[in-house]
Subunit: 300 residues, 2 copies
């Protein structure tokens, strides 16, 4: 089975199209990779580059894109509404097909070492999620607290010694967070009600933090235009908390409030493996694997 | 979108491994194709070669395999328990991704013309399913009635003038049926009962021929080893009669007899497109398309 990995490189430039194009070109010139998406947001002043390929090719792509981003972006001049800490802000490496966590970790560390030595000064690098070296570095939000502006102080605190790169503030590049995470599934279910209280009760029972499913985060929000309540969920491990199980529980909870489900959405790219459990659960085909799908033979 | 087609070449040799290997080699040597399966059955004395690729490459593969099969197989010496009529017995061309019915028909006709002129005598060819030239030639069972042994008589009857090739009996090669059909889904649902009568009632209500779903064929049979009844179905158009709709109806009918569903199976290769409606229906993601799956970006 050919190994497939995904990288989603978050870069702190979402306005200057010339610079975004230069980074995209540096990435696209990498042999063996397939760029899925380049998503730029002017308000956030941030772009997300997504590509797939073998782990080695994906790493080379990350190096090519990051080299260009570090060259072009000056964080001391950066403003944007999205939290950020570095020119290359976050780079998750995500196993998609046939890639073990250990292999993925090796790739993420390869990228961390590369960034740590990049340019004249190197870039301070923190490992997060499955690559974290300390429990308090698992969560991106914790690491990025205070953002770029907090870095000069952080770099004086031994607790914030980087995992790679210089233990000093690098004004131009800031700092980068990289690591390995499981593919995240964004699954939103719209309820046939305008009662946000019902949605909040359901979200509360769904999410792990208040007693729900282990790999489910959930909030409820009002879709003003549609006058409907949405239960918006992130599933952080679709193997252990499968999408159809999440659906069944949402449906059962909605039923208990006498509320129907209008429709749902899966946001963003979905690994083929995530639909395995949909077929198993919904059609009762317990032995189903994606290898049974004709097109998988073309993936190598 | 790169076009993908599937061919399932049914050849009347399932015992002589040397000959099977020679045909497999002729097929595998075709540039651009991916062989999915070579399935030989000694009782049937028959092998099914399955491969995918662009329509043009799939056609070339069919020509390469058929040339070798017609060279090696002598139907006047053939015995086997599976109905058959020719050395190359049946060759369905099946659109999998981005291939229109017209494009598929062109490929099937290209193969028919090739066979019609193959070897010294050519091979009589009948088009079936979507490629049929007359209503009475749509169904393979109708065309193959009487099998190889009936061909000498058939070839005297104007009603059986072939669509391609010589209008005369060719003892060595017999006759070939080729055409285009939609991917067929074999879906079997096992019921928690040993009452075959319940299974038969459910199968009757499921199948088109007795009032059921338009693209559903169904029978009930006893799984002796498991002491369970199985509703065994062929879905001939998964776009118009989607698998999850079939499941829901079987489940509802089983419920009405107080019978549960133990499990189900999908037999054989499944086009990725067939799971689209599973996600839409079962997770309520109405807007879902397979293009949202990461790996489809690698299909080109």
């Amino acid at each position: 089975m050919k190994k497939i990995m995904l990288c989603e490189l978050n870069v702190s430039e979402g306005r200057d199209e010339g610079k975004i194009d230069e980074i995209a070109s540096a990435l696209a010139g990498t042999p063996g990779i397939t760029v899925i998406e380049v998503n730029s947001d002017k308000d956030h002043n941030r772009s997300v580059f997504s590509w797939i390929g073998t782990p080695e090719d994906v790493l080379t792509g990350a190096q090519n894109a990051a080299r260009k981003a570090v060259e072009l972006i000056d964080m001391s001049l950066h403003h944007g509404s999205h939290p950020r800490m570095g020119a290359v802000d976050v780079a998750p490496f995500i196993p998609i097909r046939g890639v073990s966590k250990d292999e993925a970790l090796e790739i993420a560390r390869g990228f961390g070492k590369f960034l740590g030595g990049l340019g004249g000064t190197g870039v301070p690098v923190y490992y997060y999620e499955d690559a974290a070296t300390r429990p308090e570095r698992q969560n991106l939000v914790d690491i990025r607290k205070g953002q770029y502006e907090a870095l000069p102080e952080k770099m004086k605190d031994p607790a914030w010694e980087p995992d790679e790169g210089p233990f000093q503030f690098v004004p131009k590049s800031g700092a980068t967070v990289t690591g390995v995470r499981f593919p995240l599934i964004a699954y939103n279910v719209n309820l046939r009600t305008d009662d946000l209280g019902v949605g909040k009760e359901i979200a509360k029972k769904m999410r792990y933090s208040s007693g729900g499913l282990r790999y489910c985060r959930a909030i409820a929000l009002m879709l003003e235009e549609r006058n409907m309540v949405q239960v918006s969920m992130n599933l952080t491990n679709f193997e252990k908390t499968p999408i159809p199980v999440v659906f069944d529980l949402v449906k059962s909870l909605a039923d208990s409030y006498g509320v129907g489900i209008a429709e749902a959405e899966l946001v963003g790219p979905l690994p083929l493996a995530a639909i395995e459990e949909v077929v198993r659960h919904c059609l009762r085909v317990r032995a189903f694997t994606v290898e049974q799908i004709v097109e998988t033979h073309l993936l190598g």
